[in-house]
Subunit: 440 residues, 2 copies
Amino acid sequence: MEEVASELLRRTDEAISRLGFNARAMLVGSVARGTWLRQEPDIDIFILFDEGLTREELEEKGLAVAREVAGAAGEEKFAEHPYVTMKFRGLDIDLVPCFDVADPKRIKSAVDRSPHHQRYVKEKLTPQLADEVLLLKQFATGIGVYGAELKKQGFSGYLCELLILHYGSFTKLVEAASRWLPGEMIDISSHYSDRSELKLMFENQPLVVVDPVDPNRNAAAAVSLQNFSIFVRACQDFQHRPGLKFFFPRQVRLLKPRELDRILKKRGTRIFCVVFRSPRVVPDVLFPQLRKTERAIVTRLAQEGFEVLRSDVWANSNSAILIELSVSSLPGVKTRVGPPPNVPAESFVREHLGSKSYLAGPMVDAAGRMVFELKREWTDALDLLKDILSQRASFGKHVAEAIARKYQIYEGAKLKALLRDSGFREFLSEYFTRRLPWYR
Amino acid sequence: MEEVASELLRRTDEAISRLGFNARAMLVGSVARGTWLRQEPDIDIFILFDEGLTREELEEKGLAVAREVAGAAGEEKFAEHPYVTMKFRGLDIDLVPCFDVADPKRIKSAVDRSPHHQRYVKEKLTPQLADEVLLLKQFATGIGVYGAELKKQGFSGYLCELLILHYGSFTKLVEAASRWLPGEMIDISSHYSDRSELKLMFENQPLVVVDPVDPNRNAAAAVSLQNFSIFVRACQDFQHRPGLKFFFPRQVRLLKPRELDRILKKRGTRIFCVVFRSPRVVPDVLFPQLRKTERAIVTRLAQEGFEVLRSDVWANSNSAILIELSVSSLPGVKTRVGPPPNVPAESFVREHLGSKSYLAGPMVDAAGRMVFELKREWTDALDLLKDILSQRASFGKHVAEAIARKYQIYEGAKLKALLRDSGFREFLSEYFTRRLPWYR
């Protein structure tokens, strides 16, 4: 790994000279710090340009260097800036142009922060602490919360490093984290004078770890409440009964069609899977949109009386939104509860007495509130789902466009057709046998 | 009416002399005050005995007098004391023995209060005010809240008289009551020095009207929150647009079997009617028990996930509990939500991981709480209803015994078989076309 990294650094510096630019290559990330896991063989070469350049100059010159290094093997990508990825000796390489900003609080783009993180960690992290980071990273991977990308919303490598630097060891972190509450705040470099200042700065975040190179930033901002809670539970359980299963849990057993049939029968729920071609956007754009769409569908179904038991999203070249309902059809009548006796009800009564959907009322319930019984608009969940997919209100933009082009709904046993896709099979297998990984 | 009452008074006094008792007859109630409605031709003759007698002596002597008056026409009944009812010239007569207690705060039984009410109202009520009482009684009858018996839980005749005495006229009462809030307190004889004292005395009652002959008693104690609210709504609507329809609303149109079929289809709900022989108890015992049983059934159904849309009870020689469900069957899986991350979950996990009903979990939901998916015990509402009827937990005592002997469940279109009973037909017709009477 280190050999490959050195060679790439050398090649990048050569490319810079050849092109006559004022810049330098820098190895950042876990490989640079000796904290990489076998599963993440990502080598990040940053190309640092003078901060006096314009954005356009940076992008132009940066891409020129990256193309010179990668040649035909390079593939251009785009996050905040364009960058280049390539395969090199079997490893994934990122070539990322950025500004060499002296003060990390005044960076021009998120990638400019990485060299500062690199310097901070490199300075503080002893080889012994690096081993503790590896333990933590494998733990987070095992329990399923490793990775800050929006698909995962978990713990970044940098966050793992900061936690080890703060607590001193994996064991001490586990001990502390098993008592964490949502809203936990860790100010490593003691930037804030008191907790109230911290609270004001970082509201409503399950975990706050103040970034020592930029105290306005929460290095744990990506962590969802769900993943925070999973981490805390894992620490509690590990404290109580440590084991390898936290680091290397059993794989999810892949379901055979017949097993899926048996599970579907046992659950007796109504399951819809909306499948469509994934829009051509990066996962960090796609997954938030998929979740937003999932939420819009679940919310509308619930509004119309169809309670969703569980739902999930998945994507590779196709995207899927899985919706599992407790109730698949509802009666033709619904109750509309109005005001209590002290609140005027005239307009409530006028509205519903003359309505097309009138069935019974006005009546007064045991709690004294005015009540009407009205015809329910949607009595079948599938009809409603199709309506939601035709309206696409509050869907993610690109997902809405993809669904507008074409989608298919697989219902119940029809899901078996999707098992042919190995990624989808894994998704469904995990969904229907879901357990926290260390309980598998 | 007055002729019949005088004749009965004379006969009762004669009977007392014949038997050589120290007692006297007294006409009480609406007939005595000129406030009776055509629909309530009840003549109440009270037989007042010296308060020095024992309860046994009172019952023995009282019944002797009543039997002497009624002869073979009499029928013995029992409330707090025994009393005798009879038909006389087409009218319903009650012959009620009671103690002649000087201080109404020291009565020995509820019936001893009636002579005091009689004297209080007779003294205050002018013929003009009596007309206003008649208006109010007919109003309360029309909107369906007249009667303090436990079947109705509405406004007694005495309460109507007190309200007119307090407000001065029907119109003034309507004006005031249209602004009543639940917890309204009226202290006619200004017994209490302030509202806080009143509040302390009569907690959690929708309407409090302090009984002027016994300030410890709420003359409106029978009024349910539902009937209180209906009364307030009726007053609001009457204020806004007065009309005869409040006093004489349209009758409920009786449904034909075919119409019932159409309504059931339109509602699309699952309807069960539990029918059994009414236990041999008076309506004031039966109806609270029927409602208690209804509540027990509805609560248990809801606990198991079967939400009840509406329910009702009814009785003549048979009793019926009607249960209308939004959802008739549920999937085989249910969600069991556990503690948030800061609360230990060990015992929660141990309990469900090893449980026979285990399906999936532990998992952590978006809100960070531990969740299991378990096998649902009851997936069909009828199976569950039969189980509830076999357990009879929290049922009314006599109702539980009657159901233990025998019951039948009529479901959906089978309800048509019950339309042959004219009382039941009226009950079902009103249930399925329910509207506040003045909106019919």
